[in-house]
């Protein structure tokens, strides 16, 4: 009786323009690139809306209306909602129509798609509250299930979600935390009283999100009947199949000509051909199944790269120093009591900025290169750190110039 639980992540950051050191003290707009590059946020929103959000939403609406049993869940970051409102309001309307079917659940997350949980709990909670308010205002619903940025999860996050009344929290169904256990059941975060833990079936999720158009893959081409067969095979060995992926999989990561929309179009009917199968939202997943076990996750697990840790965001010196530079400004920003400064600062906490500085080229390099609007991690750092320097100046924080360095040799005697 496997129930398919789709959750789509929808997010676009405010990318920092090529902000130069000469702009510090003169230009306080960090996100207003107007070029033909992928740093132009409005251009990206319009592009992704036309390639992915609009066609995928139209298709989903059609499927939801045709199959009342079909359900999906979304997590839409606050900075995405804001940018849709500004650059593509018709797309925002189409998301609203999906939610209005009553077959769609919306997840809670941080408004700014940040990793604040690991740097500042008060800031994290404020960003979650901002997101909750935005979702309520736009869609008229309140998130009951929580997912953290990049699916970054540990025991503390599970306890936090439990304490704050969420019915469930999401994480990667990574072998290291599950051991012999299957992701196809509902679990309990370690020490939680009520909240459930829903774990991504990364194999089946990545078959769609990453391998769909990979011609060297032995299962290529992936068809709806084939995938439904795999889902049905879970029958007897699991309750749910959590398919968590970026919404941009449809039309942006996998282009239309790969057949991805066609795949999605036929999936509900193929899955539902087997009367044992069904679709559920994350909220139904939390409510309708027994807890099989408690899962202990002392270290942070994410859905990224082969390591499934935070190293794609915090793995090198550039990233840690950029994160420090931003979170160092938390108190000065709060003290300044200026909404413009607060908004600019919060936009700089978005996790994507640090992802662009990743230098793990060799194993996961292709994915990082694909998602990087800068020509190198170094350019990403330069733009980011100079914008942050301007913010420091505006906040009246001392700006250290360079210090005398001790000559050190890297060569071996």
């Amino acid at each position: 009786m496997p129930a398919v639980c789709f959750y789509f992540q929808v997010h676009q950051p405010y990318r920092v323009k090529r902000y130069r050191v000469f702009d510090v003290g003169h230009d306080h707009e960090y996100f207003n690139d107007e070029s033909d590059t992928d740093l132009n946020n409005g251009r990206i929103i319009r592009k992704v809306a036309s390639k992915c959000y609009q066609p995928a939403n139209a298709l989903l609406l059609e499927l939801l209306e045709r199959h009342p049993e079909f359900k999906v869940s979304f997590s839409l970051s606050g900075v995405l909602l804001e940018q849709l409102k500004q650059y593509s309001p018709e797309t925002l309307d189409s998301f609203r129509r999906l939610v209005d079917t009553g077959q769609v659940a919306i997840l809670g997350e941080t408004y700014h798609h940040s990793l604040a949980f690991f740097y500042s709990l008060p800031e994290f909670e404020q960003q979650v509250a901002l997101h909750r308010a935005a979702v309520k205002k736009i869609f008229g619903v309140t998130p009951r299930v929580f997912r953290n940025t990049e699916l970054a999860y540990n025991n503390n996050l599970g306890l936090w979600a439990d304490k704050h009344g969420y019915e469930a929290v999401l994480a990667e169904g990574w072998d290291r935390i599950l051991g012999w256990r299957s992701p196809n059941f509902v679990y309990r975060p370690k020490g939680a009283k009520r909240a459930r833990l829903l774990l991504k079936n990364y194999k089946l999720s990545d078959d769609v999100a990453f391998r769909f158009s990979e011609k060297s893959w032995s299962e290529w081409p992936l068809t709806a009947p084939k995938f439904s067969h795999w889902v049905s095979a879970v029958n007897g060995t699991g309750d749910i199949v959590n398919l968590f992926m970026d919404y941009e999989t449809f039309g942006e990561h996998q282009w239309e000509d790969t057949g991805i929309f066609n795949f999605l179009r036929h999936l509900p009917q193929e899955v539902l051909k087997n009367p044992d199968n069904s679709f559920i939202t994350v909220e139904e997943a939390a409510r309708n199944y027994p807890i099989r076990d408690e899962v202990n996750v002392p270290e942070v697990v994410t859905w990224a790269d082969t390591e499934r840790d935070l190293s794609a965001w915090t793995g090198n010196d550039l990233q840690t120093s950029a994160l420090r530079a931003v979170y160092d400004l938390e108190s000065p920003v709060a003290a300044a009591n200026d909404s413009g400064l607060l908004t600019a600062w919060r936009r700089l906490t978005t996790s994507d900025h640090f992802y662009y500085m990743c230098t793990k080229w060799f194993a996961d390099g292709d994915v990082h290169a694909y998602f990087n609007p800068y020509r190198s991690p170094y350019e990403a750092f330069i733009a980011f750190i100079n914008a942050t320097t301007d913010l420091r100046l505006r906040l009246g924080v001392d700006n250290p110039t360079f210090l005398a360095s001790q000559p050190t040799s890297i060569l071996v005697e």
Binding site: R20, V21, S321, S376, Y378, I382, N386, F402, S405, L411
Partner: protein
């Protein structure tokens, strides 16, 4: 193998490249006779040197201490007392070298002829004519790089074109250079193999820091190494220096090299009011140059058109991070480097200041760049080169 210069008697990257490539080739089992136009005290234990001016070869030698990088007429004027003019002496000597090479080829036994740059192309062609052996011409630079496309010397172009046409295979030091060869010389792309230059990290050792006092005074050092000539972009370096100094006055800009634009560059620094911050060291080599790399905070190669550019590899091996222009072949092999369009001095200054201000950026570039450059080896270049030799010999 026909060359024009060999360390320590080299004035730039051509000699360095011949040194590195032949050493790695010999390690992989190649037996090399290396021909130079005239007798100098150069040699290496992995090859046999042969000089075209020795009496037993022909009895008449090649005259001058010729400098292979001459491009502009102004060079002769800038450097008073050196009695040569491009187009007469140099080209005449190149042709004489070619004539002598035919004699050498008749005396020697070999399987492959490999000629480096236009200076030795006539020699390579002559050797092929005499012996019938396959000819590889190795393009380290084209006339278009040297002149920036303006005032291309027809005769030099003619020699380059004749060499590439007569050759059985052309080696380009980068994709950048291959594109030049295909576009400007009309050579079929399938005839051109890209073999990037390399570096041998084990050749370098830590040296005493020469500029400790400056460093302790909180001064930063940004370095330019190369001929002070149009192709290398020294004017862009000086203009970026001006912009850097507007924000960060405690930076010295060191220019290590000599060349036809030396006077012009000096005058430009003075006109910009930064003459006290731009230091000219003249031409340096060996441990002196390595010590300078190691003392510097940052190395900049703002080349207008750089077929490869070995100096950034030298800088990284010595532990100093680099900014290189997109208009360089070396940009194809380095990911852990900052890159900039040579004309964008504003961006160059932005990158320089940000690296100097933010130690994590400096550290990351330094560490990863140093790791990356260990993989850019002459061994890899030699293996590609041997593969090419074998394919030529198989098709004979």
């Amino acid at each position: 193998m026909f060359g024009w210069e060999f360390p320590p008697h080299n004035s730039g990257g051509l000699g360095t490249a011949c040194f590195g490539l032949t050493r790695a080739l010999a390690r992989d089992g190649a037996t090399i006779t290396f021909v130079l136009p005239k007798k100098v005290k150069a040699g290496a234990d992995w090859l046999r040197m042969c000089f075209a001016d020795l009496p037993e070869v022909i009895g008449r030698g090649i005259a001058a201490n010729l400098y292979p990088y001459i491009t502009s007429e102004s060079y002769a004027r800038e450097r008073k007392g050196l009695p040569f003019v491009y187009g007469l002496n140099l080209i005449e000597e190149v042709r004489r070298y070619g004539a002598l090479a035919g004699e050498i080829a008749a005396l020697e036994s070999f399987d492959i002829i490999h000629a480096h740059d236009w200076l030795s192309f006539p020699a390579g062609i002559a050797a092929k004519r005499v012996s019938g052996k396959p000819l590889v011409v190795h393009v380290h630079a084209t006339e278009f790089d040297r002149t920036g496309g303006n005032g291309v010397n027809e005769e030099v172009y003619g020699i380059e074109h004749a060499g590439m046409s007569a050759a059985d295979a052309v080696v380009a030091v980068s994709q950048w250079t291959k594109n030049m060869i295909v576009r400007h010389y009309g050579i079929a792309p399938q005839k051109v193999t890209v073999i990037h230059n390399g570096i041998e990290a084990s050749d370098y050792r830590p040296l005493p820091n020469r500029l400790v006092a400056l460093k302790q005074a909180g001064e930063k050092i940004v370095l330019f190494v190369g001929r002070i000539t149009l192709q290398k972009g020294p004017d862009y370096f000086v203009r970026a220096a001006k912009r850097v100094l507007e924000l960060e006055p405690k930076v010295y800009f060191i220019i290590a090299g000599s060349g036809d634009m030396e006077g012009q560059t000096l005058r430009e620094a003075a006109a910009l009011g930064i003459a006290d911050r731009v230091i000219f060291t003249g031409f340096l080599r060996g441990p002196e140059l390595d010590a300078l790399y190691q003392s510097a905070d940052l190395y900049v190669l703002p080349s207008v058109s750089e077929p490869f550019g070995i100096t950034p590899l030298e800088s990284l091996v010595n532990g100093t991070p680099v900014i290189i222009s997109y208009q360089s072949g070396v940009a194809e092999v380095l990911r852990h480097a900052l890159k900039v369009d040579f004309w964008d001095t504003e961006e160059l200054a932005n990158q320089i200041i940000t690296v100097l201000r933010h130690p994590p950026l400096h550290r990351t570039l330094k560490q990863y760049g140093h790791e990356e450059v260990q993989k850019v080896t002459w061994t890899a270049a030699a293996q590609k080169c041997l593969g090419l030799y074998h394919s030529l010999l198989a098709s004979v």
